[in-house]
Amino acid sequence: MIKFTLKEIPTVPLETEQLTPDVLATLDHAAIRALPAFLGKRRHAIQDFFDVEGERSDQIEIHGDAGRVKWIGRAMTRGSVRVVGNAGMHLGSQMKGGEIHVTGNVSDWAGAEMAGGLIHIRGNAGGQIGAAYRGGTTGMRDGTILIEGTAGLEVGMRMKRGTIAIKGRVRDFVGLQMKGGTIVLGGGAEIRAGAWMTRGTIISLEPLKLLPTFLYACRYQPNVLRVIARYLEPLGFPLPVDSAVGMYQRYTGDSAVPGKGEILVWNPHGT
């Protein structure tokens, strides 16, 4: 295991694209300390900002408030990253495999355009989680993002495959232009959920204020939810699937595009 301890919170964002298991797995201690990190536009070394312990491992731990440290785990394909504290923007951006666990909060663009692996955030997340970068046609292509707290704008924007599950409330435009995949909203969402979605599923356990371009279809208990629930439950994200307790209201859309996506809203009996 390689342990990085942040010496102090950087004054401006610190870009550390090298803090990934793929890069660190083969490097000795001196090489890791000498890896480049950009403070603003100025090039420095990792050792200028972190105390480093360990070498040659694809198991990484980062300690300290790394809320201004960007690109942790960028494009990683294996191993694990554990952030004890907060993490900055672009955490796990374009990652293809491995796991990232964060005990604190993360900023925007976590898991943006990721194609595989797991990101588990114990705190809150910013916006554009699992989203496509500006100009890109496709966001998250596969993998799983779990958020125990809340999340910001445009979660899952243009995602094509994979799963995002959020226990807290999310802000506007969740699933914007979604093309596929699944978003689970444990705490509901602000306005315009699923805007311009063409395919994919948004599951909300709280009532949603939907766009008028989503049409009510039926109230039912989809079988596929049992599969999703079986996957999410061991990860600490239970889904209600007992039809004796309630059913899901299905809305289809976004007919403004027109799209064939669906929004499933949990509707307990008697409500």
Binding site: A132, Y133, R134, G135, G136, T137
Partner: protein, 542 residues
Amino acid sequence: MLRIKGGKVYDPAHGLNGVVQDICVADGKIVADVPPGCREIDAAGLFIFPGGVDIHTHVAGAALNFARAMTPENQRQATKFFHTAKRRTGIGGPTPTTFATGYLYAGMGYTTVFEAAVPVLSAKHTHEELSDTPILDKGCCVLMANNEILLDLLQQGDVERAKHVVAWLIWAAKAYGVKAVNPGGVAAWKWGGNASAMSEPVSGYSQVTPLKIVSSLARIIDELKIPHPLHLHCNNLGAPGNYTTTLETMKALEGNRAHMAHLQFHAYGGDDWHTMRSESQAIADYFNAHPNLTCDAGAVLFGNAVTITADGPWQHLLYQLTGRKWGNIDVENETGCGIVPYSYKGSNLVNAVQWAVGLELLLLIKDPWRIFLTTDHPNGACFWRYPEIIHMLMNAAFRRERVKKLPEKVLPRIVLPDLNREYSLYEIAIITSAGPARALGLKNKGQLGVGADADIAIYHENPDGEYMFRYPRYVLKGGEVVVEDGEIRHQMGGREFIVHPSYDPKIEDFLRPLFQQQYTMSFENYPVELERLEHPIIHPCE
């Protein structure tokens, strides 16, 4: 002074096919000999080519800048050029920045490039970007076939005055040649139409047809003795069945010279997208029999591209077909422009046919002096992927392996599997350097004879043509080593080639009132000042 010692020289302009001899350089030119004791490069076992010349590319100007802004997703994935003591910052990808354009071209042995489409109205912008593009010598073609002043003169039958207007516009744009894009079609696009039928009047005119525009412009260019013939982007680009339009256009030239741009995009048969097929054989047969024509391939490679063309109606159709982003620019009374990012996929029947047609034309057109390697960058593929095409041209077995990966239903629609021709290094030197230089009338480019510019690319021998031509051992520009083993060693500014055809100065009295009525720019501000160009070289029209 420099002596490049003992390399195998491929200089088709002088018939040298792998002859071992020294190349001597002094004051930026190739000379017969240099005194003993001057600097030497030991080129024993290395292959020496004249620096590459790209006759048709899109690397500067307002449209390209629009495309750069439209496609941040490409730039995030592109090669980054970090600032060093010998290099400035840049980004590669399908729409490289100006500095990166210079580095990427020079990095694979190209030293001269021609920006293919420049409206006069935005020519200042283009020249500023060309000045900013390091290492390379440059030139550009000015867009003319939808200029409404010119079309009005053709409508009135006043070809003589049109000739003076063409000459004035070339000098106003500080251009080297004239490009015709979808003649009449872009003018019609401004009213929501196109010009698909070659013999029917263009929207808004009774006497002007696309064929009349083509034949008139080709004749005018020849009469003005512009060194490069009319650079012609035919009507109906990209459309199934467009090969008949291309044949009709070539016949309308009536023996005048023309350079058929990105011919691949104009060689399709079939009635619709489902029946689209290659007609490269029919195009090549006509082409082989008519020496007044040259062309560039405009080959397609699978992967990301950005389509940028003055052919506005085609771009709107492409946008409707793909649902991708679409940019549309109106350039007042002269032309237009459309931009659509695009991805060519091997699994797509249309794209697979396009991929095959580019290679077929390169293999079916017999005379390498009349077809040149291009991808219509960044329309068919990025220019820095030329070595991939070179390898396919040189290796029929490799080509067949690639064909096997195409969908089976493509095979009856193409002739590529039947073609066994393999390019030699000598022929590669022609299609990448000597041929385009000759077609452009650049006597000091594309050759290694005494007096030529010392633009030289030196390669390691490698059976993998892609590797060989992607990583030159040395690249010299004007006698300076600018690239060594993939690293930029020296960065200098390039020169710009322009022409100054003669015209009646009184033509300005005709043009000035038209400008004052119709343009948003004043007449005095319209022409590009000569001082704006860095190191302009005025090429004679003779």
